[in-house]
Structure formats: structure tokens, C-alpha cells
């Protein structure tokens, strides 16, 4: 029986990127995904690549990841529809201006090139903006990808890199054998020297296979998309507290997100959108870009996002289990994911990563609440 150098469980951006770089680094890699690649969080998120919603601790990673997304055609080899453009984080009230100044300042300290601009300046950057905008955080390192293209792009890249791609192949369990791991799949037992668990919100049950308990909270983010409309905006627009993301794709659709919570869980997915919150999110979006009022909502959906107790990633070795690694639960993970997963691949290849990983010991030893 073949023994892979690395088995990756979970085919989102984290698992797929790590698999890709590990394979390119010379490893024999198999990737297992219970469905199709990038069909959960990595394929249904809003695609925003912004620093203005990024946690300050992740800023160095997010900046490098942004550069990766912007050059996806070079390293991934396939189009994910990335557009680099200006980003604006809006304040409509004095209280929001205060919040904006504080948060933009913290992010600037962390390395994000954010400047505060007046309402009038913001409207010159984004002519679609409402007169109600008092001031805005402006960042040139912003943009978005077309999240639904992620799966196709990674699929092609992984196959080209020689990764043994096993879509529609759920893994039922993983057992350490001392010399490596055995994975139970519907098509039989698979052996690998190392294992990477990259299951997003499913990292918690995956780690349980190894007897490790790491609670992962499941967020259920509601999203709304309009039908195609004539151009009404050219930037990525958010608000001071981070709970709006809004942009128009080149083909004309406008995607409204921001993390308004719907109903769902790990077992069932995002099953229900709460109409009051759809309306609230749409009101906020139309308050920012008034021309959006003329468009129609084509679809709303809900996708899952993983969050640890301290809302920082899990990316590193699993303590006490030689050869086991975990990667995921990155806040705004679509933005930062490729870089953090690439760092993990460096570690798997025995190299020293450029930036530190996020070891999970902190989440196991002493929960934050204690």
C-alpha cells in the first residue's frame, strides 16, 4: 500500500494551499474532501480581501496574503477573479468616527496603510457613497476575489501539482500508528506519514479523532447578492465596526456581507436566514451606497466561519502527536488563508517559516475564560 508523505483532510483554501505547496516542495500528497473543493466557507464567503476587517495580530499575514491573492495567476496558475481596488471603512455618526479613528489607528500600527479621510474625500474615491458619510478609513490594499471560482482554480492547480485529489471522500477517522497515520475512508484505509487537519469548523471533530479537545465556535454569516446592475460603485465598502462588506463585481452583481448571523451549525450548515437581519444588512448597504436601492436581491445565503476562543488561528503541530498538524479557524480566513497555509507547508517541508505559526497549545492548556 502507498504511504503518502502527507494526507490533508479538508479541501478549503487552507487545506488546498498547504497541499499545493507541500506537493510543489516534493512531498507525495493526498487531499481528502468529503464534498467538492472549496464548497463551504472557502467558496461561499463574500470574497473580501481587506485589511479594514482584519484583526491586528493577523495584519502581517493578511498583507502578505493579499499580495498572494493579487498574484494568484502566478502561483496558483488560475483565475479567482481577484480585483485590487481601494477600500473604505465608513463612519456615519460621531461615535462611529471615534471608533473608526481608534480601530484604523490600531491597524495602521500593525502595518495596514490606512489613512483617515473626510466624507468629501471619501466621495471622491467612491462617487457612489452617500452624503451621510462623515469620514472614512481609506486603504489602498483592498479588493476582492470571486469566491465561487476558488474551487475550480485550486482543483486545476492541485491536479497539475500531482496531488492525489480525493473529492467526495469523507474521512471517518484517523489513527496514529507510531510511524504515521491511518485514515478510514469509504474506499479503504489510507496511510500517510504526516497528517494535516484543515476542516474549518470541522477541526473540532477532526481533532477529537486524536483525542484532542479544542472547541471551535461556528459563526453563520448571512450574505446577499444582487442581480447584475450597471456600475454603481468601484471600491470595497465597510463600516467602522466591521459589520458590512459591500462591493460590485465586474460582471455587475453587488455582494452584501458583514457577518450578520443566520441560523445553522456544523451538522446542518447554514440552514436559515433571519429576515430581520437580511433587511438590516440591506438597509446598511443602501445607506452607504444609495444607488443600490434600484437593484433587486437575487439570492441570500448563509455560510459557516470558524472561530476559536481567542479568535486567532490554529496553525501548527498537534501537541504530543508526532506528524499531526492543524490549520484553520483564521478570522477573515479567506483573506489570510493562503499565506498562513503556505507557512504551514513550509513547516511541513522542514523549513523555518518567515512568520510564526499559531500553535494550538494556548487553546488546550488554559481556556481564556479561566
Amino acid at each position: 500500500m502507498t504511504v503518502h508523505d502527507l494526507a490533508v483532510v479538508g479541501g478549503g483554501v487552507h487545506g488546498a494551499t498547504a497541499a499545493l505547496f507541500a506537493a510543489r516542495g516534493g512531498m507525495d500528497v493526498a487531499l481528502f474532501e468529503r464534498g467538492a473543493l472549496c464548497r463551504e466557507a472557502s467558496g461561499v464567503n463574500a470574497g473580501t480581501l481587506t485589511m479594514q476587517m482584519t484583526r491586528t495580530a493577523l495584519m502581517p499575514y493578511a498583507l502578505r496574503a493579499h499580495a498572494m491573492w493579487a498574484s494568484a495567476r502566478d502561483w496558483l496558475g488560475h483565475d479567482v477573479g481577484v480585483v485590487v481596488c481601494d477600500g473604505l471603512s465608513l463612519a456615519f455618526t460621531p461615535a462611529e468616527e471615534e471608533l473608526l479613528a481608534y480601530r484604523a489607528g490600531k491597524r495602521r500600527e500593525a502595518g495596514a496603510p490606512i489613512t483617515l479621510v473626510s466624507g468629501a474625500q471619501a466621495r471622491r474615491i467612491e462617487p457612489g457613497l452617500s452624503e451621510a458619510v462623515r469620514s472614512a478609513g481609506h486603504c489602498r490594499v483592498d479588493g476582492y476575489a470571486n469566491a465561487y471560482l476558488t474551487g475550480l482554480a485550486y482543483r486545476r492547480a492541485l491536479i497539475e501539482a500531482g496531488v492525489a485529489l480525493r473529492e467526495n471522500t469523507p474521512v471517518g477517522g484517523v489513527t496514529p500508528t507510531g510511524a504515521g497515520f491511518e485514515l478510514e475512508t469509504a474506499s479503504g484505509t489510507v496511510r500517510a506519514r504526516r497528517i494535516l487537519l484543515a476542516g474549518g469548523v470541522w477541526i473540532e471533530p477532526m481533532l477529537a479523532w486524536l483525542g484532542v479537545h479544542l472547541p471551535i465556535k461556528t459563526l453563520v454569516n448571512q450574505l446577499v447578492v444582487s442581480e447584475r446592475v450597471a456600475p454603481i460603485m468601484r471600491t470595497v465598502v465597510g463600516i467602522a465596526n466591521g459589520l458590512l462588506s459591500l462591493k460590485q463585481y465586474p460582471h455587475g452583481t453587488v455582494v452584501i456581507g458583514g457577518g450578520w448571523q443566520g441560523v445553522g451549525d456544523r451538522e446542518r450548515g447554514g440552514v436559515e436566514l433571519l429576515p430581520d437581519r437580511v433587511v438590516g444588512n440591506v438597509r446598511l448597504a443602501c445607506h452607504a451606497i444609495p444607488a443600490l436601492r434600484a437593484a433587486r436581491m437575487a439570492r441570500a445565503w448563509a455560510g459557516l466561519e470558524a472561530e476559536t476562543a481567542d479568535a486567532l488561528p490554529v496553525a501548527g503541530p498537534v501537541p504530543g502527536i508526532e506528524g499531526a498538524f492543524v490549520c484553520g479557524s483564521v478570522h477573515s480566513g479567506y483573506t489570510s488563508g493562503p499565506y498562513i497555509a503556505r507557512l504551514l507547508a513550509e513547516r511541513l517541508l522542514g523549513r523555518e517559516p518567515d512568520l510564526p505559526l499559531f500553535p494550538i497549545d494556548r487553546l488546550l492548556a488554559r481556556p481564556e475564560a479561566a
Binding site: V83, R228, V229, P231, P250, R293, A294
Partner: protein, 92 residues
């Protein structure tokens, strides 16, 4: 009652559905498709297909479920989901 279609004033009957009013007056091509720019007209007449989405008083509406109203302003040119490539945003 009167409505305006692409700047031209029409007399219509109360109770008329906009798609039928357009068809009865020979306006069959209502919009162009987004990718190919191909002409499109009302197709299903029951609110499903979205081919008769036109601009009514500045808003996108399905003509086949929209009752005419006195003073209604209908724009066929540029209505619906057709979108031109946008300036400003640089593709990577």
C-alpha cells in the same frame, strides 16, 4: 391613463399588465442579455423567467407582474441586469 415608455407617452387602460401593454404596442425586445448582448423579451408571463425585467420609475421590476399606473415611467434601454465593464477597478 398615461405611461411614458422610453420618453414616449402612451395611453393605457387601467388594469393592464405592463408586459401585455408593451407587447400589444409592438415592443417585444425589452432588454439585452448580460454576456452576449442578445435581445430578449417577455417569455414566461408568470414572474419566473425575469426576461421582462425593465426599469419602472427607476427600479428594476418584472413587467409581467407590474400593473400599469398613471404617470409610470418605463425605461427599456439599459434595463435589467445588463452591465457594462466598469472603469476604475483594475483586474489583476
Amino acid at each position: 391613463m398615461r405611461i411614458t415608455v422610453d420618453g414616449v407617452e402612451w395611453r393605457v387602460e387601467p388594469g393592464e399588465i405592463l408586459s401585455a401593454a408593451l407587447l400589444a404596442r409592438g415592443r417585444r425586445a425589452l432588454r439585452v442579455s448580460p454576456r452576449r448582448g442578445a435581445p430578449r423579451g417577455a417569455f414566461c408571463m408568470m414572474g419566473i423567467c425575469q426576461e421582462c425585467a425593465v426599469t419602472v420609475d427607476g427600479r428594476i421590476r418584472r413587467a409581467c407582474v407590474t400593473m400599469v399606473r398613471d404617470g409610470m415611467v418605463v425605461t427599456l434601454q439599459g434595463a435589467g441586469p445588463a452591465a457594462a465593464p466598469r472603469p476604475g477597478a483594475a483586474r489583476s
